[in-house]
């Protein structure tokens, strides 16, 4: 394995690739630090730029953006109290109060170091576990893939926050959208209504960018967010060094646990950064000796949130490379990039193309190191981005979205798809429908259908779904996940009926 790791490093240790990673990290940091722009948008906007690059170079650039954007959200979360990305939601809980009481440097330094350590731990697990998981994945048949996809869908539904019902509805919309176009087995056109451009289905990138970037900008415009913040406090990272090292050394278990949670959430197909940082924050608070300090500027809170979201990036690469199943929406875009370069991720990737697969892992590790160096040295420069007002920034973001959509097939029709899903995304947001289930229904829908039909064609009986151990394992997990999701609703119903009885 270690010779493959060295081979992977050898693939990326050239001037161009390292430069791409560095530029990607810097761009990701900028994108992630702008409130309203997500990690997925950053990676999706990078995709067209990688068309002319080699497969490793293109993916390395996108990983740089991925890692940078995951960390970039820390800046606005800490200084403005607005999460730069969904992965930095929990960072606002303690990062901003810490900055507000006059310790912005401490909050930022804690976030940067936690992100770095979380990312490296995620990378180590990636190096050690990915090939093992790849060998295990060779035992997967269509029954196992279907059951795993089903579990992935239920995990998302159970983690959609306020309304389970709306989360599930959003997921069904995504599943439906994935079925538009030619059927994979018979070539039957489904729901195209005469539009020949839809024969291949909806292009993933315009749908994704429309749902996230377009709708987010509209929401920002409606809310009057102009990204014109004033960074009031001055800070010096060097002065905070001693305090930060003391914070980290007294929170070592929290750091490791949060990184593990982030990696595990990342491994789960279809889970995302916003889930990882909130879960780890919740666990950190429950395990802390001083939970009452959480929400008031506790360093443990910042450490938990930031280490988890960067560890997630490494974890998300595992199912992407080993199964060809995206760990989250951003890796779904990377999966698209791999396929554009004619590479099919899956269990055989590690054995047939070790240079590429370990090159991707190596670029992830290098990206984390670069993130730490660039952000530590250039933090003040990055905070200048807050001075760009929204009326300057937003039009060009929409233009980039349009270019990104057009570039795929050189069709204006894809920009209309972007527009249409932008409207849909905005309306869904207004109605309180979460977007991640929709995107993941879109990604997982074809996988679920193809494997279900393949399984039934192989064996008309449905028994293999429960007699094959791995498939049964995932079905049980799916049931547990659904139970976990409906438990709060059942408990709430129970409490209400008790109240009615006592009245």
């Amino acid at each position: 394995m270690w010779d493959h790791v060295l081979l992977g490093f050898g693939e990326i240790m050239n001037g161009y690739t390292l430069l791409y990673i560095a530029v990607g990290v810097a761009a990701g940091l900028v994108i992630g630090s702008i409130p309203g722009f997500t990690v997925t948008e950053g990676v999706a906007l990078t995709l067209p730029l990688t068309y002319g690059m080699s497969a490793v170079g293109g993916i390395a650039t996108m990983i740089g953006v991925f890692v940078g954007a995951m960390t970039g959200g820390l800046i606005s979360a800490t200084l403005l109290g607005i999460p730069g990305t969904g992965a930095a939601i929990a960072t606002t809980f303690d990062g901003h109060p810490m900055a507000s009481r006059g310790e912005p440097g401490r909050a930022l330094a804690l976030g940067i170091v936690s992100s770095f350590i979380g990312g490296i731990l995620g990378g180590v697990i990636l190096v050690v576990a990915a090939p093992w998981l790849a060998r295990w994945a060779l035992d997967f048949g269509p029954w196992e893939y279907f059951s795993m996809t089903l579990f992935a869908l239920t995990v998302i539904a159970s983690l959609t926050g306020d309304s389970l019902l709306k989360g599930l509805l959003s997921g069904t919309v995504g599943l439906f959208v994935s079925m538009v176009g030619m059927d994979k087995f018979l070539g039957v056109e489904r729901f195209t209504f005469g539009f020949y451009q839809l024969s291949g289905g909806f292009s993933f990138i315009p749908v994704l960018i429309g749902l996230y970037a377009f709708s987010q900008i509209m929401t920002n415009i409606e809310d009057g967010v102009a990204a014109n913040a004033q960074v009031q406090a001055r800070f010096s990272l060097r002065q905070e060094g001693h305090t930060v090292m003391k914070d980290l050394s007294s929170s070592t278990f929290n750091l490791i646990r949060s990184s593990a949670i982030g990696t595990l959430v990342g491994i789960l197909p279809a889970a995302g950064g916003s889930i990882a940082n909130i879960l780890s924050y919740d666990q950190a608070k429950k395990g802390s000796k001083h939970p009452e300090l959480f929400g008031k500027g506790s360093p443990e809170g910042v450490i938990a949130a930031e280490s988890a979201n960067n560890a997630l990036a490494g974890g998300a690469l595992i199912p992407t490379l080993a199964f060809g199943m995206p760990g989250d929406a951003a890796t779904a875009v990377m999966l698209g990039a791999l396929m554009l370069h004619g590479i099919e991720p899956g269990p055989l990737l590690f054995s047939t193309q070790p240079g590429l697969s370990y090159g991707i892992i190596a670029s992830y590790l290098v990206a984390n190191v670069m993130m730490f160096v660039i952000l530590s040295g250039g933090l003040k420069a990055f905070t200048q981005v807050f001075r760009l007002p929204g009326h300057v920034l937003f039009p060009y973001v929409l233009i980039f979205c349009a270019i990104g959509s057009f570039a795929l097939h050189h069709r204006v029709f894809d920009i209309w798809i972007l527009f249409g899903f932008g409207v849909l995304g905005y309306l869904l947001r207004k109605g309180g429908f979460p977007l991640p289930p929709l995107v993941l229904g879109l990604i997982l829908g074809p996988m679920a259908e193809v494997n279900l039909r393949r399984a039934v064609m192989t064996d008309y009986s449905l028994l293999p779904f429960v007699t094959r151990p791995i498939s049964l394992f995932f079905l049980i997990l799916a049931v547990v996940s659904v139970g976990y999701a409906v438990r709060p609703q059942i408990q709430s119903l129970g409490r209400k009926s008790q109240q009615v009885e006592s009245e």
């Binding site: 067209p48 599930l168 509805l169 069904t172 919309v173 087995f185 415009i221 039009p395 057009f406």
Partner: protein, 150 residues
């Protein structure tokens, strides 16, 4: 009110699309067929839509508060309209010209400036749009629409 409308829309949409599935061709060797999975998804969507509608109706009956109509998001509607016009004119007027019009129009919508600054704003936008077109054409092989000028 929004949830009631959403529930009705989901039920109507899923019903319409379910009926559409009867037009799909079948094959003997494929036991499930191309309509199977869509029908499951649409039935689930319809049931969830019904659940949303019932929940929303129950909450609106139980609630004593009157729902205030929200303010119409004029800027959002205008932005969507402008982008729609931008996509319509893009093939005929080309990327540089269309983008310049859109960007300047959008910036004026978000933050109107004095008319004396408009020529400068137009010039900057033209330069940036041309630059973007040049970069994407020469470095990324993306041939953005040139319009009827070419």
């Amino acid at each position: 009110m929004a949830n009631i409308v959403s529930g009705v829309l989901f039920i109507a949409f899923s019903t319409f699309m379910y009926l559409e599935t009867f037009s799909f061709r079948k094959a003997r060797f494929d036991r499930l067929g191309p309509a199977f999975f869509p029908r499951i998804v649409l039935v689930v969507m319809g049931i969830l839509g019904l659940a949303l509608l019932i929940t929303a109706l129950r909450d609106s009956v139980g609630s004593s508060k009157k729902q205030r109509a929200g303010r119409l998001p004029v800027q959002v509607i205008a932005t969507f309209a402008m982008f729609g016009v931008y996509v319509m004119i893009l093939p005929s007027l080309g990327f540089v010209f269309s983008t310049t019009l859109f960007v300047v129009g959008f910036q004026q919508l978000l933050k109107p400036t004095r008319w004396t600054r408009l020529p400068f704003q137009l010039l900057v936008t033209v330069v940036i749009s041309y630059g973007l077109n040049y970069v994407f054409l020469n470095f990324f092989n993306v041939f953005l629409p040139e319009g009827f000028w070419s």
